[in-house]
Subunit: 357 residues, 5 copies
């Protein structure tokens, strides 16, 4: 099937994410150089895992009674996708969506499979790494695609291998749920990381409201909006999977999807709280800037108000009128200083009472 009907295949929007370099969140740039395919095959009794297989192996592999999970890491070799797509009858549009990494999270029902695209965000060395994950759920198979070579689903593989929990007894829908659940669990890490970042900014802000912190707050806001944009649609995705009438999702799995939905809601609630916090950080910045301004104005006013009248008095006795009786008087200069000090003291008292300093 020629690909010339796909003029928009590589709309790469990562350059337009609205995140500056130096941002906390990194999207799709730890891209793997080699595509790695792993095939797992299991049922209640059996577990078989072949790493580093070729596309031909995928095409040739026979699905037994159990569940087959084909894990594809790396997207830059479309011919591999074509081979797999041909073997499992994936729709052309689905394949376009898998390759085009600027997708919004969504789920779609095709004839023989359910297709879900979502974003994974993970905390790696205090930075958030994002990538697009596509999960194709068929009757007894799951195919997962990811951009990077990271071992995202390591815990799922371990639970399969060690027969932990119920995962080996249940079907492909539970496997797909487990993959999504793993991704959503990572969101919690990211949310924690953001919370730390917010706290750090808040501390700096109260200590010293400088312009760079304003930069940091704006950056933070952009990051929160970015996460929001990619995690909020997940509510819809999980809800549609749960409520949908696809026969691929068994009744027993719906409880788990409902649970997943609840987790997403918890995360989106937290992100909303972050958004409000970012807004009040901005307000706080402006408040502290205006407070400093007030302080500056008060200093100016105090100094001016004290010394301008005194200067006037000094100016008066610097005049050269011939007949200025005070000038001749013996104690004038002492009285002058006395008056000056009393006046200054009175004004200082006045400002004190007004709580200006």
């Amino acid at each position: 099937m020629p690909m010339d009907d796909m003029p928009k295949l590589f709309h790469d929007q990562s350059a337009k994410t609205g995140l500056s370099p130096g941002s906390l969140i990194h999207v799709g740039d730890r891209i793997t150089e080699r595509v790695r395919i792993t095939i797992l095959n299991y049922d209640d009794d059996r577990f078989d895992m072949r790493e580093g297989v070729t596309p031909e192996d995928v095409v040739g592999c026979r699905n037994g009674d159990g569940v087959t999970w084909i894990q594809v890491r790396g997207l830059h070799q479309p011919e591999i996708l074509e081979a797999i797509g041909g073997r499992y009858g994936l729709h052309l549009l689905m394949m376009e969506d898998i390759l085009n990494t600027g997708q919004r999270p969504k789920t779609e029902t095709f004839e023989s499979c359910l297709f879900t695209v979502l974003k994974s965000f993970r905390d790696r060395e205090n930075a958030v790494w994002g990538e697009q994950i596509s999960i194709v759920l068929g009757k007894n198979f799951v195919i997962s695609f990811q951009e990077s070579d990271q071992d995202l689903f390591e815990t799922v593989v371990r639970r399969l291998k060690n027969k932990m929990g119920r995962i080996r007894h249940m079907g492909s829908d539970y496997l797909a749920y487990s993959l999504m659940d793993t991704i959503v669990d990572h969101y919690f890490e990211v949310v924690d990381l953001m919370a730390d970042e917010i706290e750090r900014i808040e501390e700096r802000l109260t200590a010293n409201p400088e312009t760079e912190i304003l930069e940091a707050v704006y950056q933070l806001k952009r990051e929160i909006l970015y996460l929001r944009k990619h995690i909020f649609p997940m509510r819809d995705v999980t809800l549609r999977l749960e409520k949908g009438d696809s026969p691929l999702i068994r009744e027993s799995s719906r409880f788990y999807l409902r649970d997943l939905y609840d987790h997403i809601i918890q995360i989106t609630d937290t992100i909303e709280t972050f958004r409000e916090t970012a807004t009040s950080l901005l307000e706080l910045y402006h408040t502290s800037v205006s407070n400093r301004m007030n302080e500056v104005m008060k200093v100016l006013t105090i100094i001016s108000t004290i010394f301008i009248p005194l200067s006037f008095l000094a100016g008066v006795y610097g005049m050269n009128f011939k007949y200025m009786p005070e000038l001749e008087f013996r104690w004038s200069y002492g009285i002058f200083w006395f008056v000056i000090l009393v006046a200054a003291g009175a004004m200082i008292l006045y400002f004190r009472r007004k709580k200006w300093f």
Copy 2:
């Protein structure tokens, strides 16, 4: 049933509630050290209450014709939950939600029971103590779980014991309603406490707009948002219980749930009013800050405007030009003071008329 399938069991989010230490609201930190179980069993004629029973007692207990209420205080011994869960056939996900205290209020229908999670907020010594309450409603039993050892449902127990009202004649659904109603009644106390706090801040604000009050307003806002986040979903919960078609809720109980819903609406309305009040408190702060700034500016302007021209005049007669006829004139100095005082008086009048002071 092994628990190794539950990697996210203890997602404790209490550290991320967004509330600072010193806040009015305290969440889940008066946790009990010992889990206490009480079994109540009653019907129209009979009332039997056993305190401090062991999990084995629960497992072994025979449910007669009446209603059985198992009240579990404390969550830190998951094995107790496992025992009870096994006895009453609770779903694994339900048990996870009971233990994970960061739940959003929700209600869910399982095969043989209705599961409801909500937050209790109570006023204890002028502080709000929050904890998560889980209520499992079965055909002729209710199981309630709470985090702390507090005697939240003391009034319900008393009404059961003393056969007050209709509670002894009615089924387990009325008991579950009574528990929720007790929790919602406590919300009113909390709302009153918040109202007092708001009034106190408002008074301080009008008396003296200092920066600490700004802190207090922000703290207040966070607390309001926190309450909002945990009480608003209750509308949904009660509505779903009322409108739901679960056979566990009898027709006669739906009126009561409707009433509960109305109470929640009243509370959420009040919380919304609080939110608007908090916003206008912030506005008020900014207004009074800017009013003070204006006052400072006016003082500066009045002083400068009066004395700068006068100083100029004094400066003129301090010049050393040889031919300055005024200097020689006998009454110059007196006239100088006369002019000065008239000019100053005129300016003061001008400012008075402009209502600058």
Copy 3:
């Protein structure tokens, strides 16, 4: 039936309405001291009205073929409510809602009657008096409860007595509509009163933006919010009455309820306009404050900019250098003044052109 099952019966929230003392709106404080009961009985031909009857009379009264309207003024004797409730089979929760005067307007369908709670607001001597009205509509009776002793429904009684309009030919549903319609008609008075208040504040604001006016605007805003909170749910109430399928509301009455709904919409629209007006009054206040600030700043700048350079010049010729040729020159002093006046004039011209004054 013992009342000990009603722990929340007297949740009086009037103290927490958010309205300060001195407010335009007064809620429920002209409470009557004696409960007054009036029984009206009428059909096409007959009209019978007994005032000041006792609860026993109510219990004993036989409903003929016509419509019976029991008007209860005052709520503080729950035993009267109990007696009436027992006679007409009112649900316990309904009786709680009648007594608890902090209800949100709502309508509820019980087995044999329709229960509606709403707030009446009336203009009495340029102040708004609010109270809670409960209307129970049965097959051939209407029971109305109000907090105060005011003659709210005087026009309805007059129309009944004088056989004005169609009211005597129609059933109990039309009577209930007439009561609600009377209440809504009073809202128009209140809205007019608010409009006058807004106009008065607007005038004061443009005349002299002082801080007390800010207080007045905030008070106004609170009052608008208060009205909004209690009138907006009325849209829902009337809509549900009109669209509901209760057999107690005849087809012919639905047109009237639709009309009532339209009136409510008109009122809520006006209240929304008020809210926007209050917001722009606040904006206007801030604008005029900042305009005054600008004026102050301009005065300061003009005075400083004119006199500071001149003072410098005067200072120069006050220096004691031995060799300052200008000092010796005959016309120096005259030239000095000439320069001074020209410079001052030039600056004044400059400020004029800049439109600073």
Copy 4:
């Protein structure tokens, strides 16, 4: 039928429209003094128009096979409405709505007719004149009521008379549509007028941000809100007419109503744009005011910063210390001026580089 059952008949809200005198929009004050009735009767072949008929003529007129259009101009003689209402069986509430000119646009289905109320806005001599139009659509008749004597539907009459387009072949529903379409067409004129006004204000604002312009912007905003309030409900009206299942609207007319709906949407979109523009005009005003303030502050700062230090220097050499070697030195005075000019020049350069002027 006595009207004493209609206590709220003349709720005239025009005094409370929120528009000040001198506003662009004028509502209902070109009220006609005489009620004028015109009866038009037409079918495919016949066209008959009688102007200035009496109510008796209306009552007596026989409806042939064609469509009858009764056009009533002026509302102040309720007895005429009563006569027509009696003849065509109009509901009492409908007649109230026709007379009460404070209606929100709405459409209502009565037994034998469809009743629509809307506001007409027209550009007459660069001012907007508004009035309430009521249209009653029956099986083969249309009755239109308007407040003023204006010839609003002149184009429709002309098209009828000259047999232009399809209007003569189609039924009463198309006539009603044509009337509404004419009204909506006039909205476009009004929108253009507003656009011109906005442009004019924008120009004045950028030229000279004075306080009167602020007044004008607020006035504009009120006018936009007023239009919005009366045109937005039209979306609902046209949608309900199109989607409604009234047999009075034929299938073939629904396309036209859909088209009308699209026009309303276009107009409401434009009004929304106006609202946003008005908001940004306000922002612009505040920005330019604050820019002027900055300019003032800069002038003050430049003058003060240059002359205050120089004045100090002059003050130093005005001191009377006995031993001040510089005073004796021959070139001191020249050097003083040199220093002064260099310092002033340096500061001017500094401010230039900072782009302060």
Copy 5:
């Protein structure tokens, strides 16, 4: 069919788009002078394209088994539209909408065809050119109308000619989808252009917050609102095409329309992000303006605070009192300078510590 029934046919709203001259977006002003018609006819095996045909050709052309695409470029000759409309039975209202270029994007179902109006935006030489495209989809034909002579659908023609992809095998619905898809693809270019513009403004803003940039930001905001207004309704259009039950859209095409919908969502998301960015650019402008103001105030305050007290001291020793012992003292002048420098240094240190400079 006479057109005199279409009084509103040429409501040209382009003059009122709210975009100033010099804007990035240009709407409908590269209008072609000649109407150009191209007829394409194809099926699986055959491809036939006739350019520059006359309206008579269109009327006379026989539709074979394949798909006929009539591409009309230019709208200013309504008689051509009439001819085509008569041939294909287009509804009068549809023809009005095609000619009236101020339409909101919409889709409508007529008896025998689906009518869709949308706006095309394209990047041509770093400016956005917009025009209205109307697409009529019939059983085996598509008619497209555009305002200008641009070769918008060149890629579609090429794919048809070269038998690329599946387009030749599929029906008229796929062709209509392809046209819309091409238009939506161009939106991505426009969005990129806007992103560049935003970046450019952002850079200028941080470099130097001048008033012209404010102008640019407002212009940008208007452009974003303009795009938003014309692209947002596309969501509805594509959704209605996909979900609609028109038999003209085959089941197999719905996947593609869903895909189109996803692209629109991506674009509208980006536009929303732009809107938020524009708002924060405005905030940034105001922040940097207020920061500059603060800087100005600090300079004023520092200079005044240092020199005003020193001037006072100089003034004191300029007084002419007879008995001022300091004046006689040998080292007074030196001490005076020492005191002055120490005081000035101390104040500078103080300001440094306060981080004022």
